[in-house]
């Protein structure tokens, strides 16, 4: 297909760069955060998106990322102030009722596992923390992982398994699983030549896409033990291999990538102010050598760097992006 990204609406309100956006699981709310130390929750009134709530005073410094719990009842925020806040609506209004402390400095990313049992966080102190969600809204540190040698930029959970992925300034992606009551790294994905800024699983969880300061995106395929292709695996763990590199499309650093949870399309956002959408060429029937094509590009999507991009969790083709230009934009992918 070849498509267009049509601007649905521009959301203004943040007073500094917007670092990240995240839809709640039902897609009725969009959370955004940024350099102004606030979180804004946007919801629909009629056919317009409006700011419903501004969450302030949770953090002392930039809020780098936010993530909703799978039941949509909690929102976690990661800040340069070295803490993670957990917000809930138990009192009727969103309030920060728990703070996770332990990171030495800037926390860059936070993610909730699909079961809701774990939260992962990572940051400039090179560590990845896994927190177990207990009853009574208590959060206990289950593991501190020091597999990366540099600043860890992003953590993302597998869509249905308790497998965690992280990516780093050390140019690698790492995968972790629980092992006898502790967590360990079972695979390191080498290939990028510069900082890996973001990663995203496809909806079935057998592929991962990563984006980097090296201006490429890579598609990684999971090979289970005993796979027909003869890819060597270690014990019961799958082995992840790079099966496709998309280079030559992006002009500057790619800051975010998201694989739609409802269809097979990938969106990227980056320092060249563009939004791009890629889709697999289905006429090539070899899962080991897939080919992906750019099916849509929106130049000057924002007037400055685009920092984040997220597909709507329910409605195919609906997309939110956020930028250094302080705005959030909602887009619709249409076929042309």
């Amino acid at each position: 297909m070849s498509g267009n990204l049509e601007l649905v609406q521009t959301l203004e309100g943040h007073e500094d760069r917007v670092w990240s956006v995240c839809w709640n699981p039902s897609g009725t709310l969009l959370a955004s955060c940024g350099g102004d130390k606030t979180i804004r929750l946007w919801g629909k009134e009629g056919d317009k998106w409006v700011c419903k709530t501004v969450l302030e005073d949770g953090h002392q410094r930039t809020i780098r990322s936010v993530d909703w719990s799978p039941n949509g009842m909690y929102l976690a925020s990661a800040s340069f102030d070295a803490t993670i806040c957990i917000w809930d609506k138990n009192s009727g209004e969103f309030e920060c009722n728990a703070t996770l402390e332990g990171h030495e400095n800037e926390v860059k990313s936070v993610a909730w596992s699909s079961s809701g049992s774990f939260i992962a966080t990572c940051g400039r102190d090179k560590s990845v923390w896994i927190w177990e969600v207990q009853e009574d809204d208590e959060y206990e540190c289950a593991s501190v992982l020091h597999s990366h040698s540099q600043d860890v930029k992003r953590v993302v959970w597998h869509p249905d398994k308790e497998i965690l992925a992280s990516c780093s300034y050390d140019d690698t992606v790492k995968l972790y699983k629980e092992d006898d009551d502790d967590w360990s790294c079972f695979d390191t994905l080498d290939g990028h030549e510069a900082t890996v800024w973001a990663i995203s699983f496809n909806h079935t969880g057998d592929r991962l896409v990563s984006c980097s300061d090296d201006k490429t995106i890579r598609i990684w395929q999971s090979y289970e033990p005993g796979n027909q292709e003869g890819v060597v695996t270690n014990g019961s763990d799958p082995k992840w291999k790079s099966v496709c590199v998309l280079s030559g499309y992006h002009d500057r650093t790619i800051y975010d990538v998201h694989w739609s949870p409802v269809e097979d399309v990938i969106a990227t956002a980056g320092g060249d102010d563009c939004l791009r959408v890629f889709q697999q060429d289905v006429t090539i029937d070899d899962k080991n050598k897939p080919s992906f094509q750019q099916v849509a590009i929106q130049r000057e999507a924002h007037s400055q760097d685009v920092n984040g991009v997220k597909w709507h969790p329910k409605e195919p083709g609906l997309l939110a992006s956020c930028s250094d230009d302080c705005t959030i934009k909602i887009w619709r992918l249409t076929e042309s």
């Binding site: 860059k108 600043d151 510069a194 300061d213 007037s303 400055q304």
Partner: protein, 156 residues
């Protein structure tokens, strides 16, 4: 600053004369594109963190190492630390970045690099200066911001 200077006896270079104002620049009808000289003028008076001298006087910045493509909103600055093990290299690069961040229109994408071959940790310093998330975090550090602002305060 440090009690023992890293480069105790730096070479001092001749400064450029003030830029002449050309007739077209005073003509409101002519589009005034940003050029190499203009970007150089923005960074030449930045103070060295160690010496009471400017980056121009130490030849850390030179007009010939500034690249501007106004039509494509692009600026590239290369800078040359005075010695290949200079521990101030990242700070100097950060000061140049902040100065351009504050002075250039927001449409510009700015790359700041060490002149190839001029520093032992060139790749590591370049990578750090290019990481806008780390630059943003650094600028929220009040102590560091104070040091950067000292570099950017024009001495009289």
């Amino acid at each position: 600053m440090a009690t023992t200077l890293e480069n105790a006896n730096p070479t001092i270079f001749l400064q450029k004369t003030e830029r002449e104002v050309l007739p077209d620049e005073e003509n409101e009808d002519v589009v005034d594109k940003i050029d190499e000289r203009e970007v150089f003028d923005l960074i030449r008076s930045i103070n060295d963190p160690e010496h009471p001298l400017t980056l121009e006087q130490l030849n850390v910045v030179e007009q010939s190492l500034v690249e501007v493509d106004d039509a494509n909103n692009y600026v590239k600055v290369q800078f040359t630390p005075t010695i290949p093990h200079c521990s101030m290299a990242t700070l100097i690069g950060l000061a140049i970045r902040v100065q351009l961040l504050r002075s250039l229109p927001e449409r510009f994408k700015v790359d700041i690099n060490i002149t190839p071959g001029a520093h032992a940790s060139e790749d590591a310093v370049n990578k750090q200066l290019a990481d806008k998330e780390r630059v943003a975090a650094a600028l929220e550090n009040t102590h560091l911001l104070e040091v950067v602002n000292q570099c950017l305060t024009v001495r009289h």
